[in-house]
């Protein structure tokens, strides 16, 4: 993979897609990357499909928005339907196993993961956003686990730190399983 990442994390308002983007950007910044994080505001951000954009690069960044999205997380069908077309050819998509991505271009590598089942097992469905960061980072290998853990600690409410770190670990585990499958050329 290259060193320029254009990531979109999308979901329905309240799922924490924006916070997930901030956490990931903060981890990348700590690892020495240049980063820009933006998000949709206003009516667009409430309910419906909201999105967080993160640009990560070793080079200086100027234009603050995604131009060639090569990495995407979609937490709902609606958000995939809305933002999926922004994924460039050869890009990587991470979605919940219940989401249908058959409309997408076949050059896109799709990772289907039991995001919400795994989050529910942790008894806090609200940690799905951090759980998916574990998957995202294991699959993409962009930032160090240490920086990601620090960013989660810095950005989630103090009372939820432990459960969020558990979610991050669970996500990493799922990510490793998915990567192993991908390596063997199996269905991911």
């Amino acid at each position: 993979m290259n060193n320029n990442w254009e990531l979109i994390i999308s979901g329905s308002g309240g799922q924490g897609a924006i916070l997930a983007g901030i956490i990931f950007a903060e981890a990348a910044l700590a690892d020495g990357y240049n980063v820009i994080q933006t998000q949709s505001y206003g009516p667009e951000a409430r309910g419906g499909a909201s999105r967080s954009e993160v640009l990560i690069s070793k080079e200086e960044l100027a234009y603050p928005k995604v131009q060639q999205c090569n990495l995407m997380v979609a937490l709902t069908q609606e958000s995939l339907d809305k933002y999926g077309p922004l994924l460039a050819d050869g890009g990587t998509l991470i979605i919940d196993e219940d989401i249908d991505a058959s409309a997408l271009n076949t050059s896109i590598k799709v990772y289907k993961a039991p995001i919400f089942t795994a989050a529910a097992k942790l008894l806090r469905p609200m940690v799905a956003n951090v759980l998916v960061l574990g998957i995202l980072n294991t699959v993409s290998g962009i930032v160090s686990m240490e920086s990601l853990v620090n960013a989660v600690r810095a950005r989630v409410p103090a009372a939820t730190t432990d459960i969020n770190l558990a979610a991050l670990e669970e996500g990493s585990k799922i990510g490793k399983e998915l990567s192993a499958k991908a390596f063997k050329g199996g269905n991911i």
Binding site: I22, A25, T38, Q39, A62, Y63, P64
Partner: protein, 373 residues
């Protein structure tokens, strides 16, 4: 020092506090709300005061009062609130009270498009209030620049005893980037009178152009008025005194243009095409300028950090030397291009305008560049 990931509006608060601001009065409005929110959180811990006012007229009145009492003060708003502030902005200019007004711009006119960027307040920031008033307008384009220029805004307002407007669009206000919050920036504070209270005339500037206004409550008793006034601060009808005042108010800015006007010039020396921009369109221009140079095209860029006073001498000199074509992207119908056309012939300016709330994209500017070359 490691970088912190913060929003433009957060950087504005950090810059203001670093500059010594200890009073904020405001009426929250999108897309500037985070500034009020953070000020409310941070000021009390520093012994400062945050006041939520009933509207923007009261907000600017309150910061003028705080500054007259000697405290560095700021308010933040967006277009609709900035319109309401114009009368008192003129009062601060006339009475020479240093204040910083942040206008995080959104689509207009009227309540317009609250959550989308625009640059339609470019002219209003200079000419929104009546009369030939002095004012300085600064325009950051990145989160780091928001931090740096907020400090500069306070420094310039204290140095020149003038209101300073910090103008940046919604995208610059809301995007998050890595920022270094340096603790060593130079901080300028207004001069205190050199004469004892009994000999004090607040608007006597001696050989200089800038008055030394004593903080109210410091033992110096004097009058302040938005009416044309003499050196004592009391209203006057004397034609020569009025003339001197109006000219001095202008001169204290005009004669310090070199100090006040800040910009960045990239690859301009041999440029045949030059982008001129500020705010979010600047970011697109930066990318395209870099791409064009990489292709070997002689393309340069001028980024304006000071919008007003407008750097006409820079554009005049650059054009005289390069005879370059200018591409001016802006989120308005062409307010910046109109002003620039006083120094660069209209037929050498390509305008790229967007008013739909979306950003001007690098692809759009590549297209414009093709059209020029």
């Amino acid at each position: 020092m490691s970088k912190r990931l913060i929003q433009g509006n957060e950087a504005c608060v950090e810059g203001a506090l670093a500059a010594g601001a200890r009073f904020f009065a405001g009426y929250p409005i999108t897309p500037s709300t985070e500034i009020a929110e953070l000020m409310a959180e941070k000021l009390p811990a520093l012994g400062g005061v945050f006041m939520q006012m009933e509207d923007e007229i009261a907000s600017i009145a309150a910061i003028i009062g705080a500054s007259i009492a000697g405290t560095k003060a700021m308010t933040a708003t967006s277009g609709p609130g900035f319109s309401l502030m114009q009368e008192n902005l003129g009062f601060a200019a006339m009475t020479e009270v240093p204040i910083v007004v942040v206008n995080v711009t959104r689509g207009g006119p009227s309540t317009g498009t609250p959550t989308k960027p625009s640059q339609g307040d470019f002219m209003q920031a200079r000419w929104g209030c009546h009369g030939d008033h002095p004012i300085i307008v600064l325009a950051p384009s990145s989160v780091q620049e928001v931090y740096n220029l907020t400090i500069t805004a306070f420094n310039m307002s204290e140095k020149y005893m003038v209101p300073v407007v910090l103008l940046y669009d919604e995208v610059v206000g809301h995007l998050r980037e890595g920022v270094e919050l340096k603790g060593t920036a130079e901080i300028i504070n207004r001069d205190f009178p050199l004469v004892p209270p009994e000999n004090y005339r607040p608007y006597a500037t001696g050989d200089g152009l800038i008055p030394k206004l004593a903080p109210f409550g410091s033992g110096y008793r004097y009058h302040m008025s938005g009416l044309s006034h003499d050196e004592t601060g009391f209203p006057t009808g004397n034609p020569a005194t009025i003339e001197n005042l109006v000219v001095r108010l202008q001169d204290k800015i005009e004669k310090n243009r070199q100090d006040i006007i800040k910009y960045k010039a990239i690859d301009v020396e041999d440029a045949e095409v030059i982008f001129l921009a500020y705010g979010s369109p600047l970011r697109s221009a930066l990318q395209v300028q870099k791409q064009a140079r990489a292709r070997g095209e002689k393309v340069g860029l001028i980024q304006l950090l000071t919008l007003w006073p407008f750097p006409h001498e820079l554009l005049t000199e650059t054009f005289a030397r390069n005879n370059a074509d200018f591409i001016i992207p802006e989120l308005s119908l062409g307010q910046l291009a109109d002003e620039a056309s006083k120094s660069v012939p209209r037929d050498k300016i390509t305008r790229v305008n967007r008013n739909d709330g979306a950003l001007i994209t690098p692809a759009q500017l590549e297209q414009a560049l093709k059209g020029v070359r």
